[in-house]
């Protein structure tokens, strides 16, 4: 049975016992999926009904769990999404028993910012919104636009988080569709961060100044983050104390990103929703990954793998293994 059919069957089985099952449905065009809240069996027909199937399932449904606390929710998760669920449970932001998790072996999702860049650079039809037909066959994605067909390799337009993903199968699930994908040979070399660090400090500063200068402070990055917990008490909106100016200041916009990054250190699972959600395509995930690597190196800890683990920055050891105390 095809993956979609297996998942639909599981959703239908889970549905009677929950308030709703959250997954992905077709959005307004062939390339865009939208979160789908399935409450009745007929809603399940719309599950992954777009031509991209699970390759288009970009949103992280774990985001919606805290606001639905108190209700029993079914959740279809990719590997990365499942780590968000684990982290939310580890921090007591949700109750594990309120969620029925449906996992599947994820083979990666599309990055529409990447596709946008590719189209703009090489093709007459230069926007995802100009694409009129989509056909995903094996490792290739064919797009029709302006009467012409363009073909991309799946890997070229896949989100960067996917080829380096060490947990493509849900790390936690109550039911699992399909056969687990092997991933023990996959490593994250953090080459994106290393490349940034090879830049001189001045160049790096200019890079961020350039990137952040187009931020419109829409805070989609913050609101798309399943682990951003302050919500309407955000440092970015607080007037008293007045941490950040309301003036159009690139430095303060960058400062906000640094605040988000630090609040997420050791909690961020690298789901990449912050960056995906940014309408201006600002690569804010780099900041979070940089601290993610630091936490992994220093505390041998990766967020979202164990509901019983304590995030290292939410606790302390009298003697940290890798932090040398001063000798005096």
């Amino acid at each position: 049975m095809a993956l979609r059919e297996q998942l639909k069957k599981m959703i239908l089985e889970v549905l009677p016992g929950v308030d709703c099952v959250i997954g992905w449905g077709a959005g307004y065009d062939a390339l865009h999926a939208a979160p789908l809240f399935m409450r009745a069996p007929e809603d399940v027909e719309r599950f992954l009904s777009g031509p991209l199937g699970a390759f288009g399932a970009v949103q992280n449904p774990a985001l919606f769990l805290p606001e639905l606390a108190g209700k029993k929710i079914g959740l279809v998760v990719k590997g990365c999404d499942s780590r968000s669920v684990v982290q939310l449970a580890a921090e007591n932001l949700i109750k594990r028993e309120e969620v029925v998790i449906i996992g599947f072996p994820c083979e990666g999702v599309i990055d529409l910012h990447k596709l946008r860049n590719k189209l703009a650079a090489h093709f007459v039809v230069n926007e995802p919104g100009g694409v009129t037909a989509v056909n995903l066959a094996g490792d290739h994605l064919a797009l029709t636009a302006g009467g012409q067909e363009y073909t991309f390799k799946r890997d070229e337009i896949m989100a960067d988080k996917c080829p380096r993903c060490r947990e493509p199968n849900a790390v936690i699930s109550d039911c699992f569709a399909g056969i687990e994908r092997r991933a023990d040979n996959i490593a994250d070399d953090y080459e994106d961060i290393a490349a940034l660090e090879r830049m001189s400090l001045e160049d790096r500063f200019r890079f961020w100044e350039q990137e952040m200068s187009r931020c419109v402070r829409c805070y989609a990055c913050r609101n798309a983050c399943p682990l951003c917990v302050c919500r309407d008490h955000c440092a970015g909106a607080s007037r008293d104390p007045h941490w950040l100016t309301q003036a159009d200041s690139t430095r303060d916009k960058f400062m906000f990103q640094l605040i988000h990054t630090l609040h997420l250190a050791g909690r961020c699972t690298g789901c990449g929703e912050c960056q995906r959600a940014c309408p201006l395509g600002i690569p804010v995930l780099l900041l979070k990954r940089s601290l993610g690597r630091a936490v992994e190196e220093m505390f041998d800890y990766r967020a979202g793998l164990d509901t019983e683990a304590k995030p290292p920055l939410l606790t302390f050891r009298v003697e940290e293994r890798k932090i040398k105390e001063r000798e005096w």
């Binding site: 402070r217 829409c218 309408p279 395509g281």
Partner: protein
């Protein structure tokens, strides 16, 4: 009126020359997005990005993300606490090059509000109006619609001239520029432009006709104001449509017709500034009251407000011709759809409210 032609090669030079007189904004690529960037007359000439519809709207030209309304100094003349207010200097006149027609029509939604339509003209917003009066808008015909475009549902079109001072149409080797207002004619008075030849004018007209024809037929949304009024108390309707919403401000920040702002005084020692900055009705703090109550604490109530404001409240307050729906406060640019992380589709909400869900919608 005048019709001129500029070759692609000369376009950057012309924009630079305009930058001597105006604060010029032109679309520029930045990462995966296209934004309106100031043209720097000192920097090397750069081709504007005309192939891709700008990610953000052009509203920042007349309604900056943040602007100082006044500055103040606290002082103590004769030992009594006092406050000295200083006006901010008037802004440079602004010229936007290459905005799509929907962006220009977006300002038609701003205009009555900032001219005081809510107070019978008593309170006018000079900060907006003085920018507006001097601004020159050079609209560029959209070559082809995106999956999110629906300007023709709300009275616009890819080659609409409403609100524009110049209409630009791309040909293979350059642009035909047709003046629509006196302001527009004045900026076309440049040695870098030459009069458009007849065949260029014909080609431009053909290109515009092709753009209009490429637009899918509009969906009739007359009666939307009433339909949405009828949905005001349907909690289920709004909860359903807002389920995937993140309560961010991507839709409102990028929208050419969202005009709401926030005021804040920022002080440093005895000096301070009163800032006006973009606000968003999708954020929970928008309606947070000092006493703690929030009339729109739920995201469903906030989405209801955004959609109803555009398709119901505003048209009710701004009637157009008798017997017709009022002016819809949405120009159909589709940015709120295109940039929404959850693909919330304003068209679907309106058509479902009307009970005539468009075919092909999910």
């Amino acid at each position: 009126m005048d019709a001129k032609f500029i070759s692609r090669g000369q376009l950057p030079e012309w924009l630079r020359s305009l930058a001597a007189r105006f604060a010029v904004l032109a679309p520029a690529r930045a990462g995966s997005s296209v934004i309106y960037r100031p043209v720097d007359p000192e920097a090397p000439p750069r081709q504007p990005e005309l192939a891709v519809k700008p990610t953000e709207s052009a509203k920042r030209a007349l309604f900056p993300l943040s602007e100082a309304l006044l500055t103040f100094v606290k002082n103590q003349p004769d030992g009594k606490p006092g406050l000295e207010l200083r006006e901010t200097p008037p802004p440079r006149p602004c010229l936007v090059f290459g905005l799509p027609s929907c962006d220009a029509r977006g300002f038609l939604v701003f205009d009555p509000v900032y001219a005081g339509s809510g107070t019978a003209g008593k309170f006018q917003d000079n900060y907006y109006l003085r920018r507006r009066e001097q601004a020159v808008l050079i609209v560029k015909t959209c070559p082809r619609p995106l999956s999110t475009c629906f300007c023709n549902w709300v009275g616009g079109g890819p080659a609409s001239t409403e609100g524009a001072d110049v209409l630009a149409t791309e040909l293979k080797d350059g642009l035909v520029l047709e003046a629509l207002t006196g302001k527009g004619a004045r900026v076309l008075d440049s040695a870098l432009l030459r009069p458009a030849a007849d065949e260029q004018l014909t080609a431009a007209a053909q290109s515009r006709a092709a753009s209009e024809a490429a637009m899918p037929p509009p969906v009739d949304i007359s009666g939307c104001a009433r339909a949405l009024r009828g949905k005001f108390d349907s909690a289920g309707f709004w909860q359903g449509h807002s389920a995937g919403c993140l309560s961010c401000g991507a839709c409102t920040c990028l929208c050419p017709t969202c005009y709401c702002f926030d005021l804040s005084d920022e002080e440093r020692g005895s000096r301070g500034v009163r800032l006006r900055s973009w606000d968003s009705c999708m954020l929970p703090l928008f309606t947070q009251e000092t006493g703690g109550h929030n009339p729109r604490a739920a995201k469903a109530a906030r989405l209801r407000n955004r959609i109803s404001h555009k398709f119901s409240f505003y048209p009710d307050l701004h009637p157009s011709l008798p017997g017709q729906d009022g002016h819809i406060a949405c120009c159909g640019c589709g940015r709120c759809i295109r940039s929404c992380p959850s693909a919330v589709d304003i068209r679907r909400i309106v058509t479902e409210a009307l009970g005539t869900a468009a075919e092909g919608a999910e």
